[in-house]
Subunit: 454 residues, 2 copies
Amino acid sequence: MTGATSFISASADFASGKSSPRDFLEQNLAAVDAREGEIEAFVVRLDPALARARADEAGKRWRNGAQRSAIDGMSIGIKDVIETIDMPTGMGSPLYDNWRGEKDSASVRALRDAGAIVIGKTVTTEFAASHPGPTRNPHDLARTPGGSSSGSAAGVAAGFFAAGLGTQVVGSIVRPASYCGVVGFKPTFGAINRGGSHDYMSQSSQGVLAASLRDAWCTLAAIAVRVGGDPGYPGLEGPLTLPQARAPEVLIGLETPGWAIASEPARDAFENMKARLIDGGVRILTRRDRPEIDAFETMLMRALPLTRLINAWESLWPLNTYADRDASKLSAVMRERIVEGAELDIGAYRAALAERTSIRAAFASLAQIGEACVTLSAPGPAPLGLQSTGDPSFAIAGSVLGAPALSLPMLEDSGLPLGLQLLGFDAADADLFAIAAGVQGMRAKQGMQAQQGM
Amino acid sequence: MTGATSFISASADFASGKSSPRDFLEQNLAAVDAREGEIEAFVVRLDPALARARADEAGKRWRNGAQRSAIDGMSIGIKDVIETIDMPTGMGSPLYDNWRGEKDSASVRALRDAGAIVIGKTVTTEFAASHPGPTRNPHDLARTPGGSSSGSAAGVAAGFFAAGLGTQVVGSIVRPASYCGVVGFKPTFGAINRGGSHDYMSQSSQGVLAASLRDAWCTLAAIAVRVGGDPGYPGLEGPLTLPQARAPEVLIGLETPGWAIASEPARDAFENMKARLIDGGVRILTRRDRPEIDAFETMLMRALPLTRLINAWESLWPLNTYADRDASKLSAVMRERIVEGAELDIGAYRAALAERTSIRAAFASLAQIGEACVTLSAPGPAPLGLQSTGDPSFAIAGSVLGAPALSLPMLEDSGLPLGLQLLGFDAADADLFAIAAGVQGMRAKQGMQAQQGM
C-alpha cells in the first residue's frame, strides 16, 4: 500500500534539485493510478498535464530560492463543499450536480497564491453532514474512511496528495483522520476564512487532513497569512513553519462522551499511551484528580444532543429551500433534520447557545490546570461498511468547544489506525502543535530507548 | 408626491374587511406606475398579477383571523445583494448580470413564511459599496437617494412598498433613510441571519428601510423569530409588535466624526431637537459634561480610516476573484480597493480589529451614563447629483460599534429630509425602539401643545 507522504519533508531537497515538486507529484499520480479505482477519494480531478506544468514551475522557483511558500508546488485535495473556479462544487448532493460558483473560496485562492496545486475535489458526505459518499478506507476497503471529509482523509492516507482541506461541525476532520491514520487538524473557531466554503454553522471550521504535523501546520499557516480567518476574527496565529516542539508538563486526560463506548483495545491503547507520557515526565490529571475536570466532563456529556439541536436550527435554512426545489434529492436523514428544525423555536436555540457558552467557560478555566487536553479521536477503528461514517463521541469535544483539535496517527486498534486527540485552548493553535510535536518526539525517543534495551 | 405609507397602520382595518392587503398593494402599484420611471428603485419586479393573487390570499387570512404575522400581505422590496429564488440577484455589478443563486436568502425565506410579498429587487451600489446605481431621490430627482441601499430607501419614500431590506457596513441604511425621509434600522451585529445575503463583512448587518417605526420593527421581528440571527448569535430579541413607547430620562448627545462637517441648518435642526427633548424632560449629556463621553468621541474620530482598512482586508477576497474573471467589469473604486487590500498584511488587520474592540468597550461603558445616544444621521440633506451616495461620517458610528442604529425622519435641512439618529447599546434593539417611540410621542405631544398655544 502507498502511504501518506510528507511534502514538507521532501522539500528539503528541492533547492538542490536532488528532488522536485514534480517528483513528488509523480508519486501522487502513480498512487492515484494504482488505487483511486478502489478508493474513490475524488469527485473530479485536475488534468495531470496541467498539474505537471504547475509542479515544474514551482520546481524552478525552489531552485531559484524564490518559492512562494513552504507549500509551493504541493498537491492538495479540496473537500467538495469548498468552491474552486476551475472545477464544479457538488456538495455531495444531486441538487448541486455540476454546480459552479464562478469563484475560488478564500482558502483555495490563498493556496493558489502560495503555489499549491489543487489536484482535485474530494468526496464529502451530503452537505458535509452524515449521508455518505462512495469513498473507501485505504487501510481496509471494507471499512468507511469516516466523514464528512472522507475523500480528503482517504486521499492523504493513500498518498494521492500530502494535504486535503476539510471542514468539521461535529467530527468531520478528527474522525476520518483517526480512521485513515493521518494527521487531522480542526483549528480554533474562526481561524481559517470560510468565504466560499459551504460551511456556515456556528460550530463549523475549515481545517486540514495531512501526511504530517508539519504539512498540516504549513498548509493552514500559508492560508491564514494570506486571507486570515473569518471576517472579524484574528485568524490562525503563529509562525509559517511548524512551531518548535515542546514537551508538556501537565496534560488533562479527558474521557469525553466517547470513553463509555470505546472498545477495549482502544482503551488499552490510550492507557498505554498515557503510561508512556507519564514515563516521559508528563503529569496527566483526570476527573479523579480535580473536581473542576469532573464537573467539565459531566457538562460535556451534553455535547451531542446540544449540537444536534443547534445544527437542526442552523440548517433549517437552507435545507428548506433545497426541499422546495426537490425534496426527493435529499437523503432521509436530511429530510428528518428539516422536520427537527421546523419543530424548534428560537427560544430553544438561544437556550442551547447559552448552555454551550457555559461549557466553553468551564473548559477555558481548565487552562489553569493543564496546558492542553488529551483523549482518543474515536472509540475504535473505522467500522465495517460504508453506510455510516462512524461515531463522533470523541471528536465532538473540539467542535462544541470551538477549540483547536488535533488527531495524531499514533495508536492502533486491531491492526487498524486510531488517533490520539489533543485539544487546545482558544486561539492556542500554535502551542497545540508545539505540544503535539513534543509528544511525537517523546514517543520516538522512547522507541529508540526501547530498541536500545534502556 | 406619493409618500411612505405604513402597512401596519393600514392593517387595523383588515380583519373587518374595511380595507385589505390588496387595497394596500393597489396603492403601491399605482405609485410604481406613477413614479418608477423617474425614480428607478427596482432592478426587477414581480408580475403584478402574482402580487395581487398573493395579497388576496393574505386578505382572506386576515378576515379569518388567521394571518401568519403582522406583515402578512405586506409588499416588500429586497436589496439586490440578497438572494431570491424567483428573481436574479445582480449585486449591482455586471459580473452578476442575471445571476441566480437558486435559493431564497434566510431573511427572504422567513418573509415569505410570514406572508410578505416580495414585489421586487431593489437597486444597490456595486457589491453594496460606493459605486452608485441609477436610483433618484423621490424628494428631488436631481439628488442621490443615498446608498448603498438606494432602491429600498427610495422605494419606501415613494410609496412603492412599506418596507425594504437593506444592508449596512459603513452607512448604507442610516444614510439613505436620512436622505429619503424614511425610518432606517441597522440592528445589532448578528441580529438578522445573513445566510444567502452577499454581505459577509465583520461590520455588515442586514436591516430595514420602512415607512414607520412599527413597520420597521414588525418586519425584522417577523424574520428573526423564524430564522434568527447569524449562526451562533441569539438573533433580534423582543416582542413581535412594536415595543411599548418609553420616554428616556438620560440620552448621550454625540458629535461623531460628522459634526465637524455638518451644515449650519443641520446643526440648527439638531440643536432645536435637543432643546425640545430637554423641554420634554430628557437630560442630554455630551462630551462637555462627562470625560468618558469626551474620550469616546476622540476614539470615534478613527472610525472611518479604521473601517476603510478593515473593509479593504475583508473584501480583498472575493474582489480578487472577480478581477481574475474580468477586471474591466469592476468600477475604479473597487479596483482601487483591491490594491489597498493587497498592500495590507494580516498584522495591520489584527491591529485594526483590536482598536475597534477598544472603541466598542469604551462605548459599552457609556451605558452607565445614558440610556441611548442621539446624533444626526447625515451632515445635511442628500447631495445634488447621482455620482456620490453621500457622506457616511454620522452613519459610521453604529457600524464600527456593531450597535443598533435607528434613523428617524424627524428633521429637515433646506426643505429636504434629515434623519435624527438614535444609537443603542449591544443587543438593546427593542429598548431602542421603545425610546424612539417615546421620542416621537414627545414631539407629537409638544406639537399639539404648541398648536394649543401652551
